[in-house]
């Protein structure tokens, strides 16, 4: 029974997404409960999967019984299982949080909206579980197509942002597919486990190097790596406030996870001499992205855009950790990736609350209102502390392990980039917090923060604290799962 759970995790939201027009045929208001039910079932299943993977080892699921490398394989190892649990729970929280938003904002399109949201979540679980490069391409495209449509939901400006995102994203997908074609032409296989046995000797081959570069460009667009990030701030700030938490939390992170998989599970295996150039390219790009991201975040005035650039910087931080090429670096990168998903979700959720409750979109708006809800302010402080990287939050431990890996590899430039990023992150959060705390003393009364807002921000703040307090356990699981990878 436990063997089939990965497929079920994917199928539950997928089937619900397709059946949603039927479920909501009579009454549009059935959409949200149906989506919530599907996501809850998915959350329970993914937790069961995590439990069984942790106790009995990884599940390699072969579709229709065709054994890999001929058949399609899904790999539910510890890392994939943890990421799927995170993705599902974040999706659940962001759908829960959306309930006070009036359904009229969707203008009678709530059936397609929730269908696409569920498709997005099922695609995300597919990307995380998929065990071969082409399958990853297909799921990345499911995710991307759902994301383009979700960004475009509010109409107006958002249409243009969505179109720009679509052009960039589809070019990225083409580059990735080209890389996959190069890999297939030179190795004759697409299965990650199978590739791992064939590529290490082939890293001299120009075709493999070319394929790797094309994949990096393609995934770089998808993960919004610094020079290729132009689509992200517009897309995230124009996306509907109910969808941007889930987009911000997971879109870039899954592409990053795929890149980490290719780096360590495909080419990083075996003799460690040759991939060294690739790894130094990765950390240099990461360092540029993290410093550039925070500098741009400092120059923004719109709150959602500040957070979007903060997210770009954090993608860079993960790449710095991963680019050290060491076991510690890999674990640090993966742990920070998990933290970053939760933090980004929380940030965009809070930005949505600010818009809905107080009508605040820019820093100047924030000056003229009094953010009175202790739930919102408390959660914001927790997230800010975690983004900056102060104990005892998850962000601190993530950053700590990245610093540790940089010090272990005596990579002081990377260390400098991390420190600059941390200080500038402090600076841009100080700008936001200063305006939040110095709110206007006499401002119009706002209605009480709805229960679902309070519950969702509290849940995410608790998750951030939990990731810090139990970081020890999670990191030891990750260390165990990545044993033997990296130098």
């Amino acid at each position: 029974m436990t063997y089939h759970i990965p497929a079920l995790v994917f199928l539950v939201p997928f089937v619900t997404a397709i059946g949603l027009p039927l479920i909501a045929l009579r009454d549009e208001r059935r959409c949200r409960p149906a989506a919530l039910a599907a996501l809850s079932v998915m959350a329970v299943l993914s937790l069961m999967n995590l439990g069984s993977v942790l106790s009995q080892g990884e599940i390699r699921y072969a579709f229709s019984g065709w054994a890999p490398p001929v058949g399609i394989e899904w790999v539910a190892d510890e890392i994939a299982s943890i990421m799927v649990v995170a993705a599902t729970l974040l999706a659940l929280v962001s759908v829960l949080y959306s309930s006070p938003f009036p359904i009229q904002t969707l203008q009678g399109r709530s059936v397609p909206y929730y269908s696409i949201l569920l498709l997005l979540v099922s695609g995300l679980s597919g990307v995380i579980y998929a065990g071969d490069l082409f399958n990853i391409f297909v799921f990345l495209e499911i995710v991307a197509l759902s994301a383009y449509s979700l960004v475009a939901v509010p109409g107006g400006r958002a249409l243009v942002s969505a179109f720009r995102y679509l052009i960039m994203g589809a070019l990225g997908a083409s580059f990735y597919l080209l890389g996959v074609a190069y890999f297939y032409a030179s190795t004759g296989t697409l299965n990650i486990a199978d590739l791992a046995q064939r590529t290490p000797g082939l890293l001299e081959s120009k075709a493999v190097i070319g394929g790797l570069i094309f994949m990096f460009i393609g995934l770089g667009i998808k993960m919004a790596l610094m020079p290729l990030h132009a689509w992200l701030p517009d897309a995230y700030s124009d996306a509907p406030d109910t969808a941007s938490p889930i987009l911000a939390a997971l879109l870039t992170k899954v592409a990053l996870l795929v890149w980490v998989r290719i780096l360590f599970w495909v080419i990083g295996v075996g003799d460690a001499e040759q991939p060294a150039v690739v790894f130094s390219l990765v950390w240099v790009m990461g360092a540029l992205a993290s410093v550039g991201g925070v500098v741009l975040a400092l120059s923004q005035t719109e709150i959602k855009r500040i957070f979007a650039y903060g997210g770009i910087a954090h993608v860079g931080l993960v790449l710095i950790g991963v680019g050290q090429g060491s076991h510690t670096g890999l674990t640090a990168g993966l742990f920070y990736l998990l933290n970053d998903a939760v933090m980004q979700c929380a940030l965009f959720l809070l930005a949505g609350v600010l818009v809905h409750q107080y009508g605040v979109r820019t820093l100047d708006d924030l000056k003229s209102v009094n953010v009175s809800s202790s739930w919102v302010v408390g959660a914001f402080v927790v997230v800010a502390v975690s983004m900056i990287g102060l104990p005892p939050t998850g962000g601190f431990f993530g950053k700590w392990y990245i610093v540790l890996s940089a010090v272990e590899s005596r990579n002081y430039f990377a260390l400098a980039a991390i420190i600059i990023t941390t200080l500038l992150t402090l600076a841009y959060f100080a700008r936001v917090l200063e305006r939040m705390f110095r709110g206007a003393p006499k401002s119009p009364q706002v209605p009480d923060t709805p229960l679902s807002f309070r519950a969702s921000v509290a849940a995410l703040a608790a998750a951030i604290m939990g990731l810090g307090l139990w970081s020890d356990r999670i990191v030891s699981v990750l260390l165990e799962a990545t044993r033997g990878l990296g130098q």
């Binding site: 082409f134 391409f137 297909v138 495209e141 197509l145 383009y148 449509s149 475009a152 109409g155 107006g156 400006r157 249409l159 243009v160 969505a162 179109f163 679509l166 052009i167 589809a170 070019l171 997908a173 083409s174 597919l177 080209l178 074609a181 297939y184 032409a185």
Partner: protein
Amino acid sequence: MVELIQVWLSRPNFIAFVILFLWGLYITVVHHNLVKKLIGLYLVQTSVIFFLVTTSAKSGATVPVLMSEAGSVNPEMYVNPLPHVLTLTAIVVQVATLGVSLALVSAIYRKFGSLHETEILNRLE
């Protein structure tokens, strides 16, 4: 140099791929009309698919259907079917992307009354 050119000329399909890919990329980047951008994008995607198919081409080979059960299978006789299967899936993805993008373009046209990028950006200001 001559040898290099000879190597290139022996693979005209790859040259065709490179031309199509770069042409598409150029159109996507340079043109201001949104539909023309989509045409460029479509060209890029098609060129990648063309590349995938062309890697599996083999002269004198036939469709990968076993003619008889007897005797051993000679792989030289058959075309590699996998790139074709990948191509089919990639075409489906491409069609879906095109559908979403055309829907977006028509929504943009209805909203802004123009397909020209700079005009739309001016109207956004």
